[in-house]
Symmetry: C2
Subunit: 161 residues, 2 copies
C-alpha cells in the first residue's frame, strides 16, 4: 500500500504529466484523451469559472492520478464527474477511490444532490464501470448505439446526502 496521496488542484506544470498518463491508459482512445485535456486546459485558463474542477493525486511527490468534475449546466444540484484517471502502475492501489471520495466530498460541500457519470458500454470499460458501481453509482440509463454502432452510453448516478 503506497502512502496516502495528497490531493491538490491541478497546476500548469502538471499538464505534460497528465497527458503522458492519459496516453498510457489503453482504454482511452486518442480523441478521448484530447477531450480530457481540453477540460484540463479550460480549468488552467479560467479556474472553477470554466465549469470544471480538476484535482490531482500526488504519491511520493509524483502525480499519479487526477479527477475532473463540475456542476452540470441547467440543473439545480447535479454535478458531472467528467473524467478520472490513475497511472497504470498505480491502479488498484486506492488512488482512484481517494480521488472519487474527495470529489464527492467537495460536491456535497457545494450542496450537490446528484453525481452523474456517463460512460461507454464497451467491454474495455467494464473495469471502469465496476469501479464506479463499487463507489456507490447505479446504472440508471442506457442509450443504445450512442457513441458508435454497438457502443451504448450508460448513465450512472449516485445520490448524495
Amino acid at each position: 500500500m503506497p502512502s496516502k496521496p495528497e490531493i491538490r488542484p491541478l497546476e500548469r506544470d502538471d499538464r505534460p504529466v497528465i497527458e503522458s498518463m492519459l496516453r498510457q491508459i489503453p482504454e482511452f482512445l486518442p480523441f478521448e484523451v484530447d477531450v480530457a485535456l481540453e477540460l484540463c486546459d479550460a480549468y488552467l485558463d479560467s479556474g472553477d469559472g470554466s465549469g470544471y474542477h480538476v484535482f490531482v493525486a500526488e504519491v511520493a511527490g509524483q502525480v499519479e492520478g487526477y479527477i475532473c468534475y463540475g456542476p452540470t449546466p441547467v440543473t439545480d444540484g447535479t454535478w458531472d464527474v467528467y473524467w478520472m484517471a490513475v497511472a497504470p502502475e498505480m491502479q488498484s492501489k486506492g488512488v482512484g477511490g481517494q480521488l472519487m471520495a474527495f470529489a464527492i466530498g467537495k460536491i456535497e460541500e457545494a450542496g450537490g444532490r446528484l453525481a452523474v457519470i456517463e460512460t461507454s458500454s464497451k467491454p474495455e470499460y467494464e473495469r471502469i464501470l465496476r469501479f464506479h458501481i463499487s463507489h456507490g453509482f447505479d446504472v440508471v440509463c442506457r442509450v443504445p448505439d450512442f457513441y458508435a454502432v454497438g457502443d451504448d452510453k450508460l448513465i450512472l448516478v449516485r445520490r448524495l446526502t
Copy 2:
C-alpha cells in the same frame, strides 16, 4: 396555413428577434433562455466550428422560429438537437415541423445515424415532448431528479437512415 417558411442560417441581425421570441415562450425559464442564446452566440462567433448549427425560419419576411443542432462530441454519427423554438403566435402551424425536418435532413446528409434530444419531464414540457414523439423520436431514458428534485431528464432518440 401561412406560406411555407424559408429556412436559412442565423445571422447577427436575428439575435434580438430570437431573444425576444425565447423570452415570450412561457415554458422557457430565464436561465434556459440564457443558455439557448449562448449557443446562438457561439455559432455567430465561430460558425459551424462552434459545434452548433443554427437555422431560422422566416415567414413573410419575419423570423418566426429557429433550431440549433450539432454533432455530439466524442461520438461517431450522433447529433444533438439542442434547442428549437417557434414564436407563440406561430405555433401549431407547421413551422416547428419544418425546422425539425430540415435539421434531420442536414444531419442525414452529414452521415448522422442518431438524433438525440434531452428534455425535462416537467408537465410544462409535455406539449414539447409530444411534438418530438410525433416527429419520430422515442423516449429511451429517464434520469430521475436530474434537473431538480422531481424534474427528471428524458433522453429521446430518433434513428436516421
